[in-house]
């Protein structure tokens, strides 16, 4: 498993760069991760990220877009605005979680 250094934090990631260790994430790190992919975090982004982190802790897998919308209460359309083009992957990356695997 590769180790990378972001903003002085040494973190474990998979080959693509997604964090592999739930506890190596912090809100400060999220700001840096977001900046790397051109996203500036606002309260609306944080609502999604917080849901993702909590849901992962409960379910053991990363929520799909549909789950973030139905369980997290954030409309799909808004998610595409907050995390353009590939919202599910981008959210997961910033939240320090694996890519979601669900089909819908």
């Amino acid at each position: 498993m590769p180790v990378t250094t972001i903003d002085g934090h040494r973190i474990h990631v998979d080959e693509e760069g997604f964090l592999t260790s739930y506890d190596e994430w912090s809100p400060e790190l999220a700001e840096r991760l977001a900046a790397q992919i051109g996203v500036t975090l606002t309260d609306a982004h944080w609502k999604a990220l917080t849901f993702l982190r909590q849901d992962y802790a409960r379910q053991g897998e990363t929520a799909t877009l549909r789950r973030v919308s139905t369980q997290g209460g954030i409309p799909v359309k808004e998610l595409f605005t907050l995390f353009p083009k590939k919202p599910a992957k981008k959210m997961a990356y910033i939240a320090g979680l694996p890519k979601p695997h669900g089909c819908v």
């Binding site: 409309p75 083009k85 819908v104």
Partner: protein, 170 residues
Amino acid sequence: MTTDAGPAIVPDFDDQQNSGRKLAIICSKGNLDMAYPGLVLANAALGEGVETHLFFTFWGFDMITKSRMGQLKFTMLGNTATHLPQGLGGLPGMTTMATHQMRKQIAGIGIPEVPEFLDQIVASGGHLWACRMSADMMRLGLDDLYDGVEDIISAADFIEKTDGAQLLFI
């Protein structure tokens, strides 16, 4: 196991690469089991940032007809993949039972019903088009169709709109 890290490893979300990639899906079947493949693939493509267009034609028109879209059915008849004797499918009530069972299974894995699935596709930026010939055959107008349908267009219009797209016929 841990080597010293060089430059930061950041996922390549490749926003640029997909600009220009398009997917066109022609939905021509109105059976419950044939509705889902197109919807799932459209949803997946949209989630990857791919411009996606769906064209509903022939029996696929049921998927976007307000009065029918919530009542698509699944039949065992002619479907050997159910692995049950074909004769069973012809018994009274079997289509209702098979449909009920499939709906339960689909809901059980968190997949929405067809109308709600279309909501999600539209919210994700997907384009829905109704086939002109099917609308004429069934004497239906835009008012009879799901609100997210952008227009009733001819096959030629659809081909024009999806110039350069990868195409799926279901």
